[in-house]
């Protein structure tokens, strides 16, 4: 079996792995490295539970080949806290009851981070658009949307401006 070397940054740290050609990013993260926050819900890019950031863009890790991540920066939920400090999104998800079973939460958090990194003042519509690829089958979308808006410190105005829009 041909092994392909991949060098990348994972949550800010340099990493190097040898993977069989065709290995998915989710398989490399979960099975080789032991990063288990991205979940496998469908393995067909439909549920978003495996969402990670690749160079700041949200990507479904189940349809991303590990070898295409050469030289790129990968972010997962494991990299969200700064030391013992939770990320604003993590705090907001806890305070706003935005996690029920928890299986979609990692993907939601990463899609939300990609949004807030680019747009610190999103409207409600922006938030809905950002998580449209993440399925929450416990149907807890409202608290998730509110948590993301709360993390942006934009809960009130974001809501009203989007309604009048």
């Amino acid at each position: 079996m041909t092994l392909t070397p991949v060098q990348f940054r994972l949550n800010g740290e340099e990493k190097a792995e040898f993977v069989p050609s065709g290995t998915t990013l989710i398989a490399m993260l979960r099975e080789k490295i032991g990063i288990t926050s991205p979940k496998i819900g469908c393995y067909q890019g439909a549920c978003g539970a495996c969402t990670v950031l690749v160079d700041g863009e949200p990507q479904v890790a189940c349809l991303t080949l590990a070898e295409t991540c050469e030289g790129k920066s990968i972010e997962t939920v494991e990299g969200l806290p700064k030391g013992t400090e939770f990320h604003a999104l993590q705090r907001a998800f806890m305070e706003n009851y935005a996690a029920q079973c928890g299986f979609c939460t990692s993907g939601m958090l990463m899609s939300a981070k990609a949004l807030l990194d680019k747009n610190p003042n999103p409207t409600r519509e922006d938030v809905i658009d950002a998580i449209c690829g993440n399925i929450c089958r416990c149907t807890g979308y409202e608290p998730i949307i509110n948590a993301i808006l709360a993390a942006a410190g934009n809960r009130g105005p974001g809501r009203s401006s989007s309604r009048s829009a």
Binding site: V77, F86, M94
Partner: protein
């Protein structure tokens, strides 16, 4: 937003509560937002093997032959499981509480009865090898006519689906249905101002949890098997598995409780028996999970239901007779449906007091995917049908639908069709609160009514007659509470 309607039943309740109504952090929230909540598939086990089942492409077929030689020859294939490897292959989950007959194979051998039914399980060193090897198993089928409709399945001459029952229905004490009877429904129809009958159909509903069903079975050093699983019923699945594998339950150590969405769909113990059997026969850890496609095709849904409701209603809004015929589609095997159909029967005629009730609830076998629990199963479909029926009846007699429900709602002390008196009723208060929140005005008379015994009673109403005494050989015609009688003008 949660609003507490504290004025209702205030005198019956101790409001000196420490936790109810107080916002508390979820105990699992930190695990969820840090990605550290450990789901079953997050357990990393060295040397793990992977199990892939071979599933039936037919809805109903006789199995003529099974040839696994090509699959066995594939490098990486460790073991192939067939029906003969399962110590007690034929089982049913409710055997645990004494409800039989056993009617389902863990691995099919003579017949398949639904599309996606597992027949053979291939265990290999990687998921890819197991998947490819499974595709090399040759099974020769003799397709049989399939039935997908509950009433067609009940009709004379329908193909027999599940031989363990001998009929296409579950037998309740020798009958093809679970009956519930109160009063005389035919006399009620004869006395009614209007009689209408409607038909309702609810499709199967897939739970579609984001995390599919799965388990990892790991042989331990003390002769036990440790099982990481996402079953919703940890000890239920443990006991079902012990039954199928004929091992004492203390040989199985189930670790779970963390479920990535269940909604009732993860109680059938479909994955644990095969992964554990694989671990026992190979001595290695075995992982068996459903792919998304399998979860949708072979994972059990909420079963379909067809419901006929015939009602007799008076011009003043009183429902005087209700007859329900309920067909619950079990799919090919019982699982929990015999119980679900009993729930449907017990729920008849809904949260309303109706003096004459007849219900026949059937658990019917078809060639659909076996149904299972899902959020109030057995009752949910009935409520869908009943509440649409209530709107139709309100329209028929020209009443406001909220007021119509309050008028007919059960009160504490009212006799229910299954023979127990109502207690703790709160439907009227819920309808009143809903009308208030929805700015849907209801009349003062209805605002004043309550679910309590005597609630809605006014001294100007004529007193209720004494309850009828049951005569010999006749089932008791339950008494109707004085409040109910007074609201309805003392007719009863």
């Amino acid at each position: 937003m949660i609003r507490f309607k504290k004025d209702a039943f205030a005198d019956e309740r101790n409001d000196d509560l420490k936790e109810v109504g107080v916002t508390r952090q979820r105990s699992d929230a930190q695990g969820h937002v840090t990605g550290r909540t450990t789901f079953y598939d997050d357990h990393k086990v060295p040397g793990m093997l992977h199990l892939r089942p071979v599933r039936s492409p037919h809805h109903h077929a006789r199995i003529r032959s099974i040839d696994t030689t090509e699959a066995e020859r594939m490098p990486g294939v460790v073991r192939i499981l067939r029906a003969g490897d399962v110590p007690r292959n034929i089982y049913t989950v409710l055997e645990l509480i004494g409800i039989g007959p056993a009617d389902e194979p863990a691995l099919a051998f003579d017949k398949v009865r639904y599309k996606g039914e597992p027949i053979v399980a291939v265990i290999a060193d990687t998921m890819e090898t197991a998947t490819i090897a499974a595709s090399k198993v040759r099974i020769d089928y003799d397709p049989l006519p399939a039935v997908f409709d509950v009433e067609e399945a009940m009709a004379p001459g329908a193909p027999l689906i599940n031989e363990y029952h001998g009929n296409n229905w579950y037998s309740y004490d020798g009958k093809d249905h679970q009956p519930v009877r109160m009063g005389d429904v035919e006399r009620g129809f004869a006395d009614a101002d209007h009689v209408i009958e409607e038909r309702y159909q609810m499709s199967p509903i897939e739970h579609a949890p984001t995390e599919t069903q799965g388990s990892i079975a790991v042989p331990d050093t003390d002769g036990r098997i440790t099982v990481y699983t996402n079953t919703q019923g940890l000890f239920f699945s443990l006991d079902v598995t012990a039954l199928i594998l004929q091992v004492p339950s203390n040989k199985l150590h189930f670790i779970g409780g963390t479920v990535g969405g269940g909604f009732g769909g993860k109680v059938d113990s479909l994955v644990e028996p095969l992964s554990i059997l694989g671990a026992m026969l190979t001595g290695k850890p075995v992982r068996y999970l459903l792919t998304r496609e399998e979860e949708m095709q072979a994972g059990p849904p909420r079963g379909a239901e067809r419901i006929y409701i015939k009602d007799g209603v008076m011009n003043d809004g009183r429902i005087v007779a209700r007859k329900m015929r309920i067909y619950v589609d079990a799919g090919a095997y019982s699982r929990l449906t015999p119980y679900g159909a009993v729930k449907a029967a017990a729920h008849c005629p809904g949260p309303y007091t109706i003096p004459n009730v007849l219900c026949e609830a059937r658990c019917v076998y078809t060639n659909r995917t076996p149904g299972t629990a899902m959020r109030g199963f057995g009752v949910t479909a009935s409520d869908f049908a009943l509440e649409i029926q209530m709107d139709k009846l309100a329209r028929l007699v020209g009443m406001d639908p909220m007021e119509f429900r309050i008028l007919n709602a059960y009160r504490d002390g009212d006799m229910k069709a299954h023979g127990k008196r109502t207690s703790g009723a709160a439907l009227i208060e819920c309808v009143q609160a809903a009308s208030e929140m929805a700015n849907w005005p209801i009349g003062e008379k209805y605002k004043a009514m309550s679910s309590r015994q005597g609630g809605g009673w006014s001294p100007s109403d004529p007193p209720a007659p004494p309850p009828q005494q049951p005569s010999a050989g006749q089932p008791a015609r339950p008494a109707v509470s004085s409040r109910y009688a007074s609201i309805f003008g003392g007719r009863n």
